[in-house]
């Protein structure tokens, strides 16, 4: 048995306080390991409004959190390449989604973690105009969010 996985399972169990919550989290992980590829979130990626995209993630009621660190430029000269880095300090972070609020299709990326991956996402995205970049974190089945504004000098959607 993989010792990392073992530690992880133990950790999930403890946090879930030996309740069903822990069991659910562990089952969820096992599923991810065996059969990957949760279907591509078509409805989410094709949403034209932030609220709609949040709904497809199940994150409509996400709580603002200071334990999410978004690193992105304050001013990006080129909207075609905006580096966005998100780190979550929320325990049991399962996924991170990145939303560029004023893009024609706001939801840009989602990352799911398992088996020792750190709750960290880095990707370079296109942004059409100055807008908030919103990070949405799923941890223990609950949702948390934070925003950072990025000013765009030249849009990157052309």
């Amino acid at each position: 048995m993989n010792p990392i996985r073992r530690t992880f399972m133990k950790f999930t169990g403890t946090v879930g306080a030996l309740s069903t919550l822990g069991a659910v989290a562990v089952t969820g992980m096992l599923k991810t390991t065996q059969a990957l590829a949760a279907p591509w979130n078509k409805a989410g990626f094709e949403s034209k409004a932030v609220a709609e995209a949040l709904k497809t993630l199940g994150a409509s009621a996400a709580a603002e959190s200071r334990d999410i660190v978004i690193t992105a430029p304050d001013i990006a000269e080129n909207g075609a390449v905006v580096p966005v880095e998100v780190t979550s300090r929320i325990p049991n972070t399962q996924s991170i989604s990145i939303i560029a609020e004023k893009n024609p299709f706001p939801l840009a990326a989602t990352a799911d973690f398992a088996n020792g991956a750190e709750p960290y996402a880095y990707v370079r995205i296109k942004m059409g105009q100055t807008s908030n970049v919103r990070a949405v974190i799923k941890a223990d089945g609950k949702f948390f969010t934070a925003v950072k504004e990025v000013k765009i000098t030249v849009g990157g959607c052309g």
Partner: protein
């Protein structure tokens, strides 16, 4: 067949810092070519990263990810010599799989 990814996996403490550069046009479906025709949408939809055979990361993207995407993943509990495999699938069902070995940072 798509071009090979560049994967760099370096160990920092017990965390493997995995950086991936993918060669892909990531067309948004909104851009026009020189003749004024819309360039069809073409983008990577999903990717998976495994560490010694265990899935550690599953990403889903929209066309808003930049051309020639760069992304990073960090995996705790890694060792030098561990095997990292990355694969992606785009909206035209093109696929690509590449692998790398974790090296000392």
């Amino acid at each position: 067949m798509a071009e090979a990814m560049k994967i760099r996996a370096t160990l920092k403490g017990d965390v493997a810092d995995i950086r991936v550069l993918v060669a892909h046009p990531m067309e948004t479906g909104q851009r026009r070519d020189g003749a004024g025709n819309i360039v069809p949408i073409h983008f990577i939809q999903s990717m998976t990263v495994t560490h010694n055979g265990n899935v550690v990361y599953e990403g889903q993207w929209s066309q808003a990810v930049s051309r020639n995407p760069v992304f990073a993943v960090r995996v705790k509990g890694a060792k030098v010599g561990d095997k990292i495999v990355v694969n992606w699938t785009d909206n035209k069902n093109d696929k690509r799989t590449d692998e790398a070995t974790v090296v000392a940072g």
